[in-house]
Amino acid sequence: MDFLEGIKSAIFYLRSNKLRSFLTTLGIIIGVMTVITVVSLIEGLNLKVKNMFSTLGTNVIYVSKFPFIQTSSKNYRKYIKRKPLTVEDAIAISKHCPDVSFVSPVINSSSDVKYKGKRIELVHVSGVNQNYQDIIGQYVDEGRNYTEGEVDRRRFVCVIGKTIAKTFFPAGNALGRRIDIRGYKFKVIGVLEGRGNLLGNDMDNIVNIPYTTMQKIIGRRRHLMIVVSAEDKELAMDEMRGVLRVRRKTPEKAEDDFSFGTQDMLLNFYKKFTGAAFLVMIGIASLALLTGGVGIMNIMYVTVTERTREIGIRMAIGAKKRDILWQFLIETITISVIGGFVGILAGIGLGKMISIVSHLPFAVALWSVLTAFIVSAGLGIVFGILPARKAANLNPVEALRYE
């Protein structure tokens, strides 16, 4: 009996007992659905995060006395006790590290920003130098950036993000206006190009001012980071490590008392995090699939018993053992593949629903669909083989006698 014939016969029997077929495949449907939903959500997140890192620029290295990614607050006191980084450190890096392209100190603060009675809360205000735009790769597309001279002279000038510009100056006449940050008036000299939204964070709700001015208005004791760009990040980090350890008089044997941060690190951290979610999902899905497989095996045993006489008839008119084996195996595979298919559709639907309700991104990964198909076919083979063998090994005369 050929394959197509087997599938036809399988679909025929499935259709003649719809409820039972549905219940049989429920385990597989749920298992596959779980996989597809979770994988699609994670995949959507992945795409989004990759986008985020590419918009942030891949050549950026942050230097801070705090670790870039803190997973616990355990060593917090140790980090707090570390010497702060200084503007002089930044200058030394730009002088002595040939593989570092641009350097800027960074002093961040979250401040309310006001303009003529309008007010935006918790704006990300960064004190940076004139090179910051080249490091991050975000330039002004209206007006101009501030100059080295303006940084040196601690001018009250700023470049603002799109959100600020749109909120305060819907008519688009932002340049030359004075906005209020922490009680100081800053002259708007440029509007930054837009970056959009990332995981619910408005990336355009920002203001950049000279770091020198920032120090003037919030004091010098504020936590300072250094951000640099480099083509070869490993090389640049080695050079910076050398410079900083000497400047900070870090003892020979001691570990670095500062940390580097790159997007690769964030990405790795993110991958570890989603990897854990993945494992949990695989656990759940495997259980569901196992239950589904055992369910299918049970039903197939029942089916073989119910159709004993039919098997006898088929043997009497010339079916060989392997014909019967194939018939039931193909039937089981068809059931589980159909279950897998329904599971894939349900998973996509559920993922879509979750993403609509929760605003999480969502992307169906082709590999997960293919895997789901292969896994469900595999389940059919694994759990179908025993019932199919039972059918194939029936004695034709006994089978014909079966009432």
């Binding site: 050929d2 006898g312 008839i313 010339g318 079916a319 053992k321």
Partner: protein
């Protein structure tokens, strides 16, 4: 000789009891014979038929079908022989439920690996031969007993086998329908088929040219009805 069987034995074991269904049967059937087998219930008729029909193997003895020793060959080869040489007709029709007449009749050709189109043509022509050309898409449960048995006969015929083996083909039918089925067998016999038929009823058995009487697993009598 189409069939030569010597000293066939077949017994079943039920716990400690050994039931000798066929004790020592030797039988010869030539091509285009029409043989009835009669005997009381439990005398071993069906068991013998299963061996002759290559559905089962004897415990001992020799069986030559078309000059080939088939008493010791592999199950798969037996299946192939059943498919090529033998058509079965049963008392209880034994059609596959939920499949229409056409699909039922096509089935032996499926196992022969024939193409869909050829199968359908052959099956329709077999159904027409038994007078069921107008019922090909009916499921068994939509057919009368006599019609079901005709479908079964069409299925037995569709591979154009040398031998038709019928185990009480009229046992579940009223006498009028039974007579129609018998005349169908008669026609097949005249067209060159070898027919072996089990029956309880003398008047049914007499349609054949020879009656073999069986009791307790042994042949007790061979009765010639008509000379060929």
């Amino acid at each position: 000789m189409l069939i030569i069987a010597k000293h066939l034995k077949k017994s079943y074991r039920m716990g400690k009891v050994k039931i000798e269904a066929v004790r020592d049967v030797s039988i010869e059937i030539h091509k285009n014979a029409f043989v009835s087998i009669m005997g009381p219930s439990g005398s071993g008729k069906s068991t013998l038929m299963h061996i002759i029909g290559c559905l089962d193997k004897p415990d001992s003895g020799e069986y030559f079908l078309n000059e080939k020793d088939v008493s010791k060959i592999h199950d798969d080869e037996l299946a192939e022989i059943r498919n090529k040489f033998i058509g079965f007709v049963f008392q209880t029709f034994n059609l596959i439920p939920r499949m229409n007449a056409l699909s039922n009749v096509e089935m032996p050709l499926v196992y022969r690996g024939e193409k869909t189109k050829y199968r359908k043509e052959k099956a329709i022509s077999a159904l027409e031969k038994v007078g069921l050309g107008h019922r090909i898409y009916h499921n068994p449960n939509e057919l009368s007993g006599g019609e079901r048995q005709r479908v079964a006969i069409a299925r037995a015929l569709v591979t154009d086998p040398a031998i038709i083996i019928a185990d009480e083909p009229t046992g579940n039918l009223d006498s009028k329908t039974g007579a129609e089925i018998l005349s169908l067998f008669d026609k097949l016999h005249k067209n060159g088929k070898t027919i072996i038929m089990i029956t309880h009823q003398r008047e049914v058995a007499e349609i054949a040219s020879k009656i073999i009487h069986i009791k307790d697993g042994n042949i007790t009598d061979r009765e010639i009805i008509k000379e060929m």
